[in-house]
Amino acid sequence: MKIIILGAGQVGLSMAEILSRENNDITLVDSNQTELSGLQDRLDIRTVHGSASYPEILEQAGMEDADLVLAVTDKDEVNMTACQIAWTLFKTPKKIARIRAQEYLTHPEIFCNEAVPVDVIISPEALVTEQVLRLIEYPGALQVVDFAGGKIQLVAVKAYSGSPMVNHRVRELREHLPDTDARVAAIYRKESAIIPTGDTVIESGDEVFFVAAHADIPKVMQELLSVSKPGRKIILAGAGNIGFRLAQTLEKYNYQTKLIELNKNRAQYVSERLENTVVLSGNVADEELLIQENIENTEVYCALTNDDEANILSAMLAKQLGANRVMSLVNRPAYVDLMQSSVLDVALSPRLATIGSLLAHVRRGDVVAVHSLRRGAAEAIEAIAHGDPENSRVVGKRIDQIDLPQGASIGAILRGNDVLIAHDNIVIEAKDHVIIFVVDKTHIPKIERLFQVAATFI
């Protein structure tokens, strides 16, 4: 595919890197020459220096031939204008823009070909907010991702010594939970991936990824975690976009939320707009404040300021002071890698969340969702099967007959409204949503080919 990426920031660069390795023709546009210099040699891409929304620059970048434009400059307005011009002058088939301002996002009706022609809006803040909400919903989860509109979820937990399934074979899950179906998609043991069979024994400390219907997730988690009743106390540090949004959403559920904000004016602003949240003005790194706010009885502490270092330190402090689970927003990729083995329970990366949701739109085949896992090394994909045995490599085949690449496994299927957990004898039908876990993302092209229909499919 010919893809034009506007903006060589973190997300733009990461996407250029990933997509150029996957046999795409990439042009990266940025107004800052220094951001671009050297990239052309390091990555197999073309670069164009100039304002990302100017018609002349877009033409120079090859918009006439592009299948897709990805507008991820740091300005919403530039991203929207670029999409407008791509559509008006070049009829670009797919236009994806990152939009941050809530002020635009609350009016989805403006995003259509007749007004602001953006086909897909990516909002990192919204993605991170949803991610935290899902993690709060499932105490003990390291990662929770949605498929099939939330009907199917993939959850990662650290198997806890003494929990019912530790030191037991994967197949015994069925005996433990006769009325619940789930599939263990992958196990990470000391940082290496194991594709489990029924005979794989789950060990304490294993990072277990499993797939189940939404309603069954808590039951499966109980088999892998210690039995404790989770508390309802949550502390959010930082009342920026994400912190404020989260507090607003949490008010709809039965949580006791406190929101700490350094800036007095901002604290005042959000407190006027929140009803059941205690807003405190203070420093998130202040030990006294955390103790005073009863940190040791807090279920989730979530550091969400725009300062990575402050977030990491305050989350570590909160953990040390007794918070049950701590999460930190971490923007810098190097820190995300570092934090995974630290005392932090979850490092929230807006970059990784954004990349995952962007990938869904550039994959070949009818891919509806992609989640980037394990800091981008693994992926979980939801793809729709089309066609018939004549023109599809999956339709009409039993799961164990499908030629999946090494390290890939089918976790579940959504058929109509029914969730089917993958078992070898299930036969894939046209229109099935198939959820696949891929341990090694270099195999993604093979999965894409698997789900593509032959030329004669009509």
């Binding site: 010919k2 006439e64 031939d65 592009a66 299948d67 009829k91 670009t92 088939p93 797919k94 070949r364 085949g365 009818d366 089309h386 593509q452 229909v453 032959a454 030329a455 004669t456 499919f457 009509i458």
Partner: protein, 160 residues
């Protein structure tokens, strides 16, 4: 070119391809531009078909898997509301173009096909028959070397 192909106008495409939907020496620089040209040709002299909609339909189908059937041929196609009979166009490119075809060979001959949204078996068979006809090396060579669009049309009309 053999006479029987040139003069036989009773093939399965008879009545589906109009002369104005044939073009040769088309210059395009990309798959996207090619699909735009196909959308243009398919919507020539039609009142009820929107060119942008057709372009979008062709793109969506292409996303599910390339319609490049190999040997330099692509048959971009799709289903569309508002037509009763299939609409077919054909174009030959001045230079071959990468189309993610099954054999990775660039395409030079492109047949565009629109079938009604609720297409019946006869309509659906056109695609399979086209793909079948292009397996014949002699026909392929003839199509690729036609000197103008009327000759191209004759050959297509003669396909059995």
């Amino acid at each position: 070119m053999s006479d029987d192909i040139q003069h036989n106008a009773t093939g399965f495409l008879s009545g589906f391809i109009a002369r104005e939907r044939i073009d040769v020496d088309v210059e395009v620089s990309s798959k996207k531009r090619l699909l735009e040209e196909v959308a243009d040709l398919l919507t020539v002299h039609t009142d009820n078909l929107n060119r942008d909609t057709v372009f979008q339909i062709l793109n969506e189908r292409e996303r599910l898997g390339s319609t490049g059937i190999g040997s330099g041929i692509a048959i971009p196609h799709g289903r569309i509301e508002g037509i009763e009979q299939p609409i077919i166009c054909a174009m030959r490119l001045s230079e071959s173009l990468n189309f993610d075809s099954i054999d990775d060979k660039p395409v030079v001959l492109v047949i565009g096909l629109l079938v009604p949204a609720d297409a019946d078996q006869t309509h659906l068979k056109i695609l399979a028959r086209l793909a079948g006809a292009f397996r014949d090396d002699e026909i392929l060579a003839t199509l690729k070397t036609c000197k103008d669009s009327s000759q191209l049309l004759d050959v297509l009309h003669g396909l059995q």
